[in-house]
Amino acid sequence: MSAPRTLFDKIWDSHLVDRQDDGTCLIYIDRHLVHEVTSPQAFEGLRMTGRTVRRPEATLAVPDHNVPTSGRAQGIDDEESRIQVEQLSKNCDEFGVPLFGMDDVRQGVVHIIGPEQGFTLPGMTIVCGDSHTATHGAFGSLAFGIGTSEVEHVLATQTLIQKPAKNMRITVEGKLPVGVTAKDMVLAIIGKIGTAGGTGYVIEYAGEAIRDLSMEGRMTVCNMSIEGGARAGLIAPDEKTFEYIMGRPMSPKGAAWEQALAYWKTLPSDEGASYDKELVLKAADIEPQVTWGTSPEDVIPVSASIPGPDAAPDDNKRSAIERSLDYMGLTAGTPISEVAVDTVFIGSCTNGRIEDLREVAAVAKGRKVAENVRAMIVPGSGLVKEQAEEEGLDQIFIEAGFDWREPGCSMCLAMNADKLAPGERCASTSNRNFEGRQGRGGRTHLVSPGMAAAAAVTGHITDVRELG
C-alpha cells in the first residue's frame, strides 16, 4: 500500500513529467489563463525565438485589468491601456489563442470567467500571470500565479519547472455565525498566520465551515491565499463542486463527464495524510473583519479598536504599524466602527460573483447610499452582470444610489480610470490594502460585500449585523 497522500500530493504526482536528480521537477500545466498586462512580453518572446503556443485550446485569454467599467462603447481613452488591450487581441489572433474580447458578454475578471465557463476543473494544474490564480483552488485544482517569463514558458511548452511546495492544512471547525462570510473567514486566517505565514506552502482549507461554503465562498477563501503568502489554496472537491461544474460550456459531457467524475472523487486527501503545518480555527469565534493598515494582516474584528505601535512584537513591526497609521490617517485606540468612508468599491476576483452581489442587495434594499459617499459596484463578468439584472439586483442598487458598472478589475488595482484620490478612504471588497494600491495616497479598508454595503449606507465602518 502506498502512503496516504494529500490532495496537493495527488495533483502534483499526476502532473510530473520529469524529475531531475537535484529534485527539480517539470510539471504539466492543464490550463493557462492569460490577460493583457502580464502577457505581451511573453508573446514577444515567442515571436523573437520563433516558438509557437503548444496548446492554444488549453489557453484562454481575456482583457480585464485595463478595461473601462463605463462608456465602453466609446473604447478606451487612455492610450497605453488601449494599446495593451489591442496587443492582447493581436497576439491571440497570431498564436491562435481563444479570446473573450471587451465586447463579449463572457468577458470579465480572469478568475471569474475560468470557473464560470467550466474551464477550471478539479485535479488540474492551472496557471495565470496573476497572483490571484489561487482562486481556482476552490475546485480542488492546483492553481497558482506566475511571472511573465513563466507565462512564456507555459505558452511554449505547456509545462513549468518547479519544486514541490510544503503542505499546510487550515481547518475551520463548526458553523460561521449569521452575518459572517467567507471573506471574514479568510481575513481572520491571514490575521492569524500573517502575510508571510504561508510562504513555501500550499494551503488546504478544511473543516465544517469550509464545506458549508458555496462555491463562490470557497473561491473567495482560496483567492486570498496569496495574501497569506501561499501561492495556492485548495479545497477538496465534493458534490457542491460537481453540481457547479455540470453543464458549463467547457466542462466534460456524457461519458467523459462520468469518467471525470469518477476521477475527481479520488482526489480528496487520504485519511492519515500528513501535513507540514496545521492550524485549527473555530468558526464561532470569527466576527466580521476590517483591515485598518496597509497589509492584509493588519486586520481586526469590527467590534475592536485600531491597535497602536505598543501592540508590536518587535521594532520592525512597530515601525510598520507607525508607518501604516500615518499613511491611513488613523489614531490608535479609535474604534474601527467610527471611521468614516468616502468611497465604497464592490467587485474584484475576490468578491465580484453573483452571491456577493446578492449579499450587497440584501443590505441595500430599501436603503440609500449615505450623502458624500460614492459607491460603485463592478460585476465580475458580463454573465454575472446579466444574472444580477435578471434577478433585479441592478434596480435595487440603482435605487439605493450605487453606481452599477461594466465588468473588470476596476478599482481593485486602479489600472483603469476607477481610482481613489490622495487621502480618499474606501471600504473595499478587494484583496489588497497596500499603500497606493487603489490610487496614490488612497486608503483602503478590506471588508466583505455585506460590510461594504453597510459602510455605503451609513457612511462609516459598520457591523452589517446591526442593520438586520
Binding site: Y28, I146, G147, G436
Partner: protein
Amino acid sequence: MDKFDKLTGTAAPLPLVNIDTDMIIPKQFLKTIKRTGLREGLFYELRTDEDGNAKDFILDQPAYKDAQILVAGDNFGCGSSREHAPWALLDAGIRCIIAPSFADIFYNNCFKNGILPIALPQEQVDLLMDDAGRGANAVISVDLEAQEIKGPDGGTISFEIDAFRKHCLMNGLDDIGLTMAKGEKIDSFEERRKLSQPWA
C-alpha cells in the same frame, strides 16, 4: 539573461518589512508592452511626491546612485506576480537583494532575470543593513559560486541557494530552451493523458 557569478558594489539599505510589488512598481507603469525602460517606475511613490518632485529616496542619494545590492526587511516582494518588479530593479542596476525572506512568486521571478535574491537570518541582515547604512564606503561582495557574502570589515556570511537555480544563474541559461530539450518526455506525457483523462 546575464550570467551572475561575482558582484562587488554598494548596497542600499531599505529597512521596511513587507515591501510589496505595488510599492516596487506602481500600476501605472504596468501598461508597457516592453521589458525595458522600467527604472523610471521603480519605487515611484517612495521616490517622488504627488507632484512628481524627488523626495531624496535612498537610491537617489549620491552615495547610493550606483547601488547594485539592496538590503531589505522581511517578506520582500509580496503581493502581485508582476515581473515588472524585477525588470524595474534590473533596469536600475540592482542585481542582488538580501532580506530575511521573500515572497515566492517574486523570488522565482528574480532568477528568470539574472537577479540573485539571498535570504538570511534576521541578525545577519541587520549586520548587512548597518554596513549598507555606511554608503559608498561600505562595499559588499557577493560570490555565488562560493555562496558567500563579504562585508566591508572582512566578515564572511554564507548563504543557501537551490543547486539548479544556482547553475542556471551562473550560466545565464534559458529555462525554455532547457525544457524544449525534454520535448519527448512532454509528448509521451500528453499521449498517456489523452487516454487516462481525455477531458483535460
